[in-house]
């Protein structure tokens, strides 16, 4: 007589049920984190002294209501904006105390003295489209990052963007304190002085 074994429960459909649940959660999951251009708004200050900035140290980017660019009173294209901003920031035309020993620009006396003094002023119209505004912001931030990349490559042998990525990565094995210190050196070399004026109605 063969010994009768206990009947086994068929677990085959269990996988189907689990898959059904899995697919539901897969569809409703959003793991991605948002990313974007971070900015700091200027605080409201009533007794505001207007800082004394020489005209040659200001790089005016104007976006009109038809999304056209005017850079220092000359019409410009978005694709050239980054290069123009780099040339302005990296000019280093100052002498004496205001000299910039790491700048590689043409040292034109009619352009900015020092990256520390150079201010980019972004002005827009109320009818400028948001996407154009973001594109311009992006190019200006890219100009700063390109310059910081170059200096980081020279001083530390890696790019600024890589260093920022390492800083944000919790799995990165390395000296975070040293990295922070290096990053602040780079930020001090090319400080992001990007002013956003309140929009005016221009006719």
């Amino acid at each position: 007589m063969a010994k009768r074994s206990a009947p086994e429960v068929n677990a085959g459909s269990m996988a189907d049920i689990a898959f059904l649940l899995l697919i539901f959660f897969l569809v409703t999951t959003t793991i991605e984190t948002d990313s974007g251009i971070s900015r700091r708004l200027p605080p409201i200050d009533d007794n505001q002294d207007i800082p004394d900035i020489r005209k040659k140290n200001i790089f005016i980017v104007l976006v009109n209501k038809d999304d056209q660019l005017l850079v220092n009173d000359d019409p410009a294209e978005l694709k050239d904006l980054r290069q123009q901003a780099i040339e302005f920031l990296d000019n280093g035309g100052g002498v004496g105390d205001e000299a910039c020993d790491y700048c590689q620009g043409p040292k034109d006396p009619s352009s900015s003295d020092n990256p520390d003094k150079a201010v980019i002023s972004l002005q827009n119209d109320r009818l400028t489209s948001y996407k154009m505004y973001i594109a311009v912001q992006n190019e200006l931030v890219a100009a700063y990052n390109d310059l910081r990349d170059r200096e980081a490559q020279r001083l530390y042998g890696q790019t600024y963007r890589e260093m920022e990525k390492n800083k944000a990565d919790p799995n990165w094995r390395g000296d975070k304190e040293k990295l922070d210190q290096q990053l602040s050196v780079l930020k001090a070399m090319y400080p992001q002085k990007l002013s956003e004026a309140e929009p005016k109605r221009r006719d």
Binding site: T29, I134, E164
Partner: protein
């Protein structure tokens, strides 16, 4: 006629699938744990512009979201086609922004308030006038850290 008969099965034995549910459940639990269901349903068109010089916005509990854009077609009868602000699940006016920020701050622990960031999720077709108004309101309540939330991509593709 030996007592220990050699089992002679035909073909290869079937692979047991009994452990398959365990594997699937493991995956299931992973996704259950990391799942965040979307809290706000957009009432507006929200095609974010693209940019590549971006910073990640982690620590989701420290982010306040302000949406803006044209109302979706099914709300256009009621709210018009002009770009509007959306706070939580409702359409709002510019002067509601301050109250919204205050309410968000109240709901957070006090020591976290200085780290709050405002994420502006604005549709690419919106005019800057509305965005500037929001920015002015944020300055009024001293919520100065903002993030123009974008999609990943080349900035030049915004202009197409």
């Amino acid at each position: 006629m030996s007592k220990f008969k050699k089992k002679t099965g035909g073909g290869t034995p079937g692979i047991s699938t009994a452990s398959l549910p365990d594997i699937v459940f493991m995956l299931l639990f992973f996704f259950m744990v990391v799942t965040v269901l979307r809290q706000t349903t957009p009432l507006i068109e929200n095609v974010l512009p693209t940019a590549d010089e971006v910073e990640k916005l982690d620590k989701k509990d420290l982010v306040m979201y302000i949406y803006a854009g044209k109302p979706l077609p099914r709300y256009q009868g009621q709210y018009g086609t002009e770009a509007r602000i959306q706070l939580n699940d409702k359409f709002a006016n510019v002067n509601d922004v301050q109250a919204f920020i205050q309410a968000e701050r109240e709901s957070k622990r006090e020591e976290l308030v200085p780290f709050l960031t405002t994420s502006l999720k604005v549709d690419g077709e919106t005019n800057m006038g509305l965005v500037s108004d929001i920015k002015q309101e944020l300055r009024q309540v001293n919520a100065l850290k903002i993030n123009y939330t974008t999609r990943d991509g080349d900035a030049a593709s915004n202009l197409e």
